[in-house]
Amino acid sequence: MSESAAIAPAAHAAHDAHEEVSFLRHYVFSTDHKMIGRQFLFLGLFMMIIGGLLALMVRWELAWPEEVVPFTQWIPEPYMSEGHMNPAFYNTLFTMHATIMVFFVVMPILVGCFGNFLIPLMIGTRDMAFPVLNMLSFWVGAVAGVLMLSGFFVPGGHAAAGWTSYAPLSSVPVYSGVEWGQNLWCISLLVLGVSSLMGSINYITTIINMRAPGMTLFRLPLTIWALFIVAILLLLALPVLSAALGLLLLDRMAGTTFFLPSGGGEPLLWQHLFWFFGHPEVYILILPAMGIASDILSVFARKPIFGYRAMAYSMISIAGLSWIVWGHHMFQSGMNPTLGSSFMISTMVIAVPSAIKTFNWLGTLWGGNIRFTVPMLNALAFVSMFVIGGLSGIYMAATPVDIFIHDTYFIVAHIHYVVFGGSIFGIFAAIYYWFPKMFGRMMNETLGKIHFWPTLIAFNCTFFPMHILGVGGHMRRIYNPMQYDFLHPLQPINVFITVSAVCLGLSQIPFAINFFWSLFAGKKATENPWNANTLEWTAPSPPPHGNFGALPTVYRGPYEYSSPEVTEDWLPQTRRLEGAVARAH
């Protein structure tokens, strides 16, 4: 290990002291933020497989309703009858697909993995402010995951009221036929909320208090800005979800009637509480990907990010505005139409910062010296796909148009363009980019491209036609479109989408192969394979416990690529230039 020569003797001795840590303390109950980050990554990737398979079952039923679904004969009654899907089970499938993807894939990977792994490294410190709390946040999250999966095995089946779980369908067991499954869904998310809160406290404290000397707020990479803002959003939004889940559990198990009119309750209360959390939640899902894409675009265009302050301020305004738009999910709910109009205005306004970011990303590419590495390809796809998702949101913001497209596949298209096209391409970009730092090895570029191109094409073939289905009036959450005469002409589109979805699933195989093979046999990574400026690239790959030898000092912002001050096309944050004064940009 040539890196060990670079480590100062004090840190080396500290590293030796940690050689004595047991397997359990090193790999399982680690308090090292990097190991915890890896744990979150494995949890998220495992759940992504489950979430993806659930989606394929949903898609199969839509394309060929009431026919045998292949490979499902082992699923017992009453869910499947020798491969035939029970309508109640269909409802469970889309409910759990969405629940798992939102709560157990995107959040653990973007916030749990990359938040944990990158924050101390990118701000120049040895670990999080509260390492034990950090370790607990993973294990509490893992317990939540086990609870969530256990719901599949209880009588009555798993939750089946949608990931949005509207009352009273979700609050009165006899309306859905689901008993303990829905209760476990609530309890699992309550536990996961605790995990996220622990993480948020750690991230906020660490970023505020533990930045290296010279690392002012406006020298932070946008990835860290995004994670910081997201941590604050989580801290404020999750308690509202927890309250809603608590009320739902009480209605289900203790005979209360918070959501039941016959007992003086109000169904819309659930929707207000859920979406007051739910809207900031979807910005929690996208903001880290936006920060990561900004950083990756800058690195591989070899140019500073265009409009750094505008980018930071627009993320702050997206986060602030996200608290006052939640009613746009409820335009048709029976809520007062005048209140709906005020939500329409705030929703139109929140599109502006995203537009600013899109143009700044284009500005970053303009005049660049672009290298098409696999992380860059995924970051570029993020920009393009996120724009489609964002533009489709404008139709829904216009309340009269929303009358028609609410609860149709137009909404499903929008969701998937922003969460898959946005967050998941962002996740792929992040994994390909930081894999060398996390595991000390490079992923294979060729396999990466074999993963990227089919994924991009199959993704668009799967989700773009859903806009057309929505325009045709195709409702969400139905298992058999053929029950409706007016949907018959649209059915060939459903078949095309399902075939594309299967291709999309298969396209992930090169990624799985690449990931696991590279873990053990990938080319050993140098300290800074991408010639990037940010602090994590000054530590070994992977960094030892304690990250840095001597703690770094920061002299400039993270985006000084192609700077006229040096001949190389990159200039690290930590590099001291002769005669240079630490300038305040």
Partner: protein, 239 residues
């Protein structure tokens, strides 16, 4: 825990179970059994059964005209599909769970009123090849709300407690029927003329009840003679 206190607990539990068993119905041979027979009639005029409107799955449900079977009265005023039973009886003829079958044919429940001993396995058949749904409105037994898609030809449900249970299909709003789960063997449906007969009853005094889905309940006291027949007639007011 102490061994002695564990033993005491086990003994109390055993006593409770034995005690509970002692209160349950006991079946066996009946010597000098008598019978109760009679007729249930309707007092007042009753409109003819109306035709049910089929507003869904017309290709299957609209094949034959469906009549509302909730209130069927013969020309002589006899009430069909009423259930006559002995309210409480501790000992009598053998009794235990039995097979009961409900058919869904042409979007109609056959029979309209299904009688079975509590604890029986009820088979619910879907012969129609379309989606039905079994929804029971029961309080003593756990309520059931289960889809029965076309490929699910039989669902089995168990009803452990005695209860009168309304049964509907949520997919087809006009489908309605009744399950009568009983904890003794002395219950029977009236025929098309309102006649009924309960047999093999140990001699003694009993309370006899008539129940009808629409016209309600009435009870009467009766004495069953050894080896003889007691006559009981009921009249329910038309609604």
């Amino acid at each position: 825990m102490h061994r002695t206190s564990v033993r005491t607990m086990l003994m109390i539990i055993a006593a409770l179970i034995w005690g509970a068993a002692a209160y349950a119905y006991e079946g066996g041979a009946v010597a000098n059994g008598g019978s109760i027979s009679g007729q249930v009639k309707v007092q007042g005029t009753v409109p003819p059964p109306k035709t049910l409107e089929v507003t869904k799955d017309k290709e299957v449900c609209g094949q034959h005209e469906l009549k509302d079977e909730e209130l069927l009265v013969s020309s002589g005023g006899g009430l069909e599909n009423a259930v006559v039973s002995i309210v409480t009886i501790a000992k009598g003829k053998p009794f235990g769970p039995a097979e009961a079958t409900l058919d869904q044919q042409g979007c109609k429940y056959v029979p309209h009123v299904l009688l079975f001993p509590a604890g029986s396995n009820v088979k619910i058949n879907n012969d129609d090849g379309i989606l039905h749904n079994i929804h029971t409105y029961s309080t003593k037994n756990p309520p059931i709300n289960r889809a029965q898609p076309k490929f699910k030809k039989t669902i089995e449900e168990k009803f452990a407690e005695p209860e009168v249970i309304k049964v509907t299909c949520d997919a087809h709003g006009w489908m309605q029927g009744w399950f009568i789960s009983q904890d003794n063997p002395y219950f029977v449906k009236t025929d098309a003329n309102g006649n009924f007969k309960l047999t093999d009853i140990p001699p003694g005094d009993y309370e006899v009840k008539v129940w009808h889905g629409k016209l309600g309940e009435k009870t009467q006291k009766v004495t069953v003679p050894a080896g003889g027949e007691a006559k009981v007639n009921f009249e329910l007011a038309a609604k």
